[in-house]
């Protein structure tokens, strides 16, 4: 996709993708929901992702330089702002002011991975079409087409794309999987080489395996037939995943009940500012119109304490 083509046809590329548009999904629309009230931030999902998807452990120095390869990361936020602060008097009589004295309502843990946007900002900027939207609603990454421009990374509002700055699979240079660690590598997933972009795939290798089985049996994949690695590991069961087009799936019921419509960039339930909305579902940076496929459920804190 050249820049000229991109500029001329911007609206066409933007319009084709959102849910139910000109290119409807063929039987499947994979989507996710994450309940942040029961996510404890334990990192079981992230380690599961490393194990399933052959993610490189880059080491201290590269991690410091922002080259970590965690497709799924737990973002940790604090809620107390400076305005809410109680000043602390120091021994020398000076006041110490930095928000509240303690993080006394705990942290906020947010598992962040590729949001598989329906109108993905990363897709439109790829000069070679290496990142695409599939018919089952996944934002795919074609490694052997990727030339490493990193435009997609620059354009991703969630910062969930990870670039291979090094040839991590080469034992002579990087040695990320020294013998016999390499024997653990999942044969269903490519080990990516230097110069390509990579990111969460919704465990596409697992999806494809069950979709092929289902097609052989002339049916659609059933609810519960497939789990992503993070979902399978999640101790609290905070992650749900499934086919949005199946009205019986938990995921479609959750989105429906939470009144989050994947095809809208602003949800009607949020229209009236100030009105108490008693539903927790929302999508991150929805207003940028990427139409993400991951719904988050707000964390809850007891009002009585």
């Amino acid at each position: 996709m050249s820049i000229a083509n991109l500029l001329q046809n911007w609206s066409r590329y933007r319009d084709t993708h959102p849910y139910g548009g000109a290119k409807p999904h063929m039987g499947y629309k994979w989507a996710m929901a994450i309940d942040m009230d029961i996510c404890t931030g334990c990192n079981a999902c992230t380690v599961a992702c490393y194990a399933e998807n052959n993610l490189a452990v880059v080491g201290k120095e590269k991690f410091l330089n922002g080259k970590s390869m965690h497709w799924l990361r737990i973002e940790r936020y604090w809620h107390d702002s400076v305005e809410a602060g109680d000043p602390i008097e120091l021994a020398d009589g000076k006041e110490f002011k930095e928000g509240k004295q303690f993080h006394d309502q705990g942290a906020h843990f947010l598992p962040m991975m590729c949001q598989h946007c329906e109108a993905a900002p990363c897709e439109t900027v790829c000069p070679v079409g290496a990142t695409n939207h599939t018919q089952d609603g996944i934002n795919s990454q074609i490694y052997n087409r990727c030339v490493g421009s990193r435009y997609c990374n620059a354009n991703c509002p969630y910062k969930v794309r990870y670039f291979n700055w090094f040839n991590y699979q080469d034992p002579a240079t990087e040695n990320v999987w020294p013998e016999p660690l390499n024997q653990q590598l999942n044969p269903d997933v490519t080990v990516r080489s230097k110069g390509v972009m990579e990111k969460c795939t919704f465990c596409v290798q697992r999806l494809r395996a069950v979709m092929v089985d289902a097609r052989t049996e002339e049916r659609l994949v059933r609810e519960g037939e497939v789990q992503t690695a993070c979902q399978q590991a999640c101790l609290a069961g905070a992650i749900s995943f499934g086919n949005m087009l199946n009205p019986e799936s938990r995921i479609s019921k959750q989105w429906m009940q939470q009144e989050v419509n994947i095809a809208l960039d602003a949800q009607p339930k949020n229209k009236h500012v100030g009105d108490a909305v008693d539903k927790r579902g929302y999508r991150i940076l929805e207003n940028l119109r990427p139409y993400p496929s991951v719904m988050y459920l707000e964390q809850v804190r007891e009002s009585a304490v």
Binding site: T40, S68, G106, A229
Partner: protein, 737 residues
């Protein structure tokens, strides 16, 4: 086969079923076909037929990364185990597995495993064969008395525990020491005293309010996978009711980070706060038994505020909540037990639980396995101190070490490393050349958990009693490693050839032990082969439920808490914190775990010290400054992480980092906080009081870039709506899917 009673009893002892009534009625047998759809039994000779290129097979086993005893499913292809999942059949983990458990794979495929027996020759190690090693052990044992031999292990259970016990009996030694560096010993002792059992079954999911005094049950405490699943249910109560979690501690744990209200308490005053709550409950009209009321009556609101530092407004709300919503559950962990008066703190907290009427509602008597020989022998620190005394007196001539790394985890005032030199022959059974192996005369390389067979009984059982089976999920990577059970069997054959000579290997022994007792293990009339196939393919034997006895009712005794004396030279409390991934440092050589950010600080590949911003301002330090943490026993240099989840009078450093050996990922990563711990002990149990060390913090002038994942805003959201939060009065959870 068994001729008379005497022989039978002896035989049962050999197999681990002795001492108990092996007369359980057989329970219903389900068809072995039940398991075949998902799980295919592993047979040692049958491996080739399962190694079909490109086809996955799934085998059940048991996770050994911690002592929780979660059942796992290994995804195996072409003879290699590639991924671990939880086994849905286990009542403990119900199909889930934590990050630490997943990383068992990298323990198996670790590039720094030792692969051959090594004998010390001066400063060098020399490779020898197993035959030479076993002969050498036999020679060394020849000249010493039974009681001059000691065996140091971590917690043990199951049939390797049986063999170990029988081996020690054969040697005539009573010196088996089970040592765990980080373990809730005081919790066990206090529970035993207050409830009559060491580890009651918890029903977090049935509680409406949980008040936890530093029990990190979502992180690293007792059985976190089970507790996290209970926690999820607790948060999603019936009809949209949602359980409330109050965490009282001086350093925020993962559980604290998930609390509705995190109450920062002055270190060591947990018992005072518990009695204060009892007193306040009584004042609020809650019916408090008179004995408990008498104990708590001196703990007035003013005194509690003054001693604990917790503001009255929070305490009032907590009291109102506890009064209104029942049942609740009160827990306590390392933060409350880690003091010289740890047992007193614990007694006050268990008393609060009794007052609230939770015993029998959210806390029940546990199941136990009716075979005492295979029951878990849990470790504690006291065991190491007792062994150390014997070693220091020169009473130990041969020392075996397995499953623990005391040279790394002992506190420096114990002088363990130096004392070890007094032991003429030290045998270390290990996976890595860790600090203890470096001191050994003979190092024996063990199979990984993925290669080995075994049985185990978890200390905390979530439902009825169960025996876990561990099977080999993968072919052996190295020809010259052996399983722990195999080593014990070989050693026993030296002592008691008539009884153990018939078993070719530990697998054969284990199979025989199980099959011989199949009636009591629910095998019914199935053939031996069928029973064994079923046992291995399920990876778990659930024993028929026995009516659990009720927990004890309380006996209130007068409690006293030593007030922390001001210490001008060492003004700050040091809190060594337990990371769910590093634990006591045994997993430090697993790269996934080193690169997995600490959930609270998001730091990777290093240790750090958490300092409250007010304290940091006083000390004139900012994030990334390297400071010296000095106690009376030692000093370490670590980088500062400024953090509003710690009491201003305390600093906290995670345990498990700072190895000097072990492997490429562990060595020189971070600092070892065990080195600076003072010798202060809990007065009742004699356990090392982990939180009693006082330190001073001084700036070194050195500065490093802190390697962390939290991003440039340090956990703020830069005004964006990213992570949102609602309060319970603004949300309707009742209709949620």
């Amino acid at each position: 086969m068994i001729e008379n009673n005497f022989n039978r009893r002896d035989f049962l002892k050999v197999l681990g079923w002795g001492g108990a009534a092996v007369a359980l009625s057989a329970c219903g047998n389900t068809s072995v076909e039940d398991g075949t759809e998902f799980v295919t039994a592993h047979s040692t000779e049958g491996m080739p037929e399962y190694a079909i290129p490109g086809v996955y097979v799934h085998f059940n086993s048991t996770c050994a990364q911690c002592d929780s005893g979660c059942s796992i499913v290994g995804r195996v292809r072409e003879g290699r185990v590639l991924k671990l999942e939880g086994n849905p059949e286990s009542p403990i983990n119900k199909g889930k597995i934590c990050g630490l458990g997943q990383a068992g794979l990298q323990a198996h495929y670790n590039p720094d495993r030792i692969t051959q027996p090594m004998l010390r020759k001066g400063d060098q190690g020399e490779t020898i064969t197993w035959e030479q090693a076993l002969t050498l052990i036999n020679e060394q044992l020849g000249g010493v008395k039974g009681n001059e031999v000691a065996f140091l292990t971590g917690g043990v259970s199951g049939h390797s525990g049986v063999l170990l016990k029988n081996y020690m009996d054969a040697l005539g030694s009573a010196n088996h020491y089970a040592y765990e560096a980080v373990t809730p010993s005081v919790v066990r002792a206090a529970n035993k005293k207050s409830y009559g059992v060491e580890m009651p079954r918890l029903h977090i999911d049935k509680a409406q309010v949980v008040v936890s005094f530093g029990a990190d049950f979502l992180g690293a405490w007792v059985s976190p996978v089970n507790f996290t699943q209970q926690y999820a249910k607790f948060r999603k109560g019936p009809n949209g009711s949602r359980g409330v979690l109050i965490q009282v501690e001086s350093k925020m744990t993962l559980t604290g980070a998930n609390a509705d209200r995190w109450l920062c308490i002055r270190p060591g005053t947990e018992g005072v706060y518990a009695l204060g709550l009892i007193n306040a409950l009584g004042a609020a009209g809650f019916k408090v038994p008179s004995a408990a009321a008498a104990i708590a009556k001196d703990y007035t609101a003013e005194r509690v505020i003054q001693e604990t530092g917790i503001p009255a407004e929070h305490t009032e709300k907590v009291v109102a909540l506890l009064k209104e919503r029942t049942p609740s559950l009160v827990l306590f962990g390392s933060a409350a037990e880690g003091y010289a008066h740890g047992s007193q703190n614990a007694a006050a907290i268990t008393l609060l639980n009794h007052v609230l009427g939770n015993v029998g509602k959210t806390m029940a008597a546990p199941a136990s396995v009716p075979f005492p020989q295979i029951a878990p022998k849990v470790g504690n620190r006291h065991a190491l101190h007792a062994l150390n005394d014997k070693i220091a007196q020169g009473n130990i001539k041969v020392l075996f070490t397995y499953g623990s790394n005391p040279v790394f985890t002992s506190h420096s005032s114990l002088n363990f490393k130096e004392n070890l030199k007094k032991v003429p022959f030290k045998v270390v059974l290990s996976h890595y050349r860790d600090e203890t192996a470096m001191e050994a005369d003979l190092v024996l390389p063990l199979d990984s958990v993925m290669e080995d067979w075994g049985s185990s009984v978890p200390e905390y059982m979530a439902d009825a009693a169960q025996i876990n089976i561990q099977q080999a999920l993968s072919e052996k990577l190295y020809p010259d490693t052996r399983g722990f059970g195999d080593v014990l069997l070989a050693l026993l054959k030296q002592r008691r050839p008539t009884e153990y000579g018939q078993y070719e290997d530990f697998y054969g022994y284990l199979r025989n032990a199980m099959v011989q007792n199949k009636a009591a293990l629910g095998g019914g009339t199935a053939s031996d082969d069928m029973f064994w196939q079923k046992t291995v393919s399920h990876g778990i034997i659930k024993l028929p439920a026995k009516a659990a006895s009720a927990l004890k009712t309380p006996t209130a005794t007068k409690l006293a808490f030593a007030a922390a004396a001001a210490d001008e030279a060492y003004p700050l409390h040091l809190i060594p914190s337990t990371s769910a991934h590093m634990r006591d440092g045994r997993h430090a050589n697993i790269p996934w775990l080193q690169e997995s950010p600490d959930p609270i600080t998001t730091v990777v590949w290093d240790s750090w010290v958490e300092i409250h911003p007010a304290t940091a301002a006083k000390l004139g330090v900012v994030e990334g400054d390297v400071v010296e943490i000095a106690s009376r026993s030692g000093a370490i240099k670590v980088m500062v992480y400024v953090f509003k989840g710690i009491h201003p009078d305390a600093v906290s450093v995670p345990m498990g980092y700072g190895h000097e050996a072990m492997g490429r990922y562990a060595k020189n990563t971070g600092q070892n906080v065990f080195k600076v711990l003072d010798s202060v002990f809990d007065k009742e149990t004699g356990e090392l009081a982990l939180h009693e060390t006082r330190v001073k913090v001084t700036k070194t002038g050195q500065k490093v870039k802190i390697v962390k994942d939290e991003g440039p805003y340090g956990g703020g959201q830069a005004g964006k709506r990213i992570a949102l939060r609602k309060t319970t009065d603004k949300v309707n959870l009742s209709k949620e899917v």
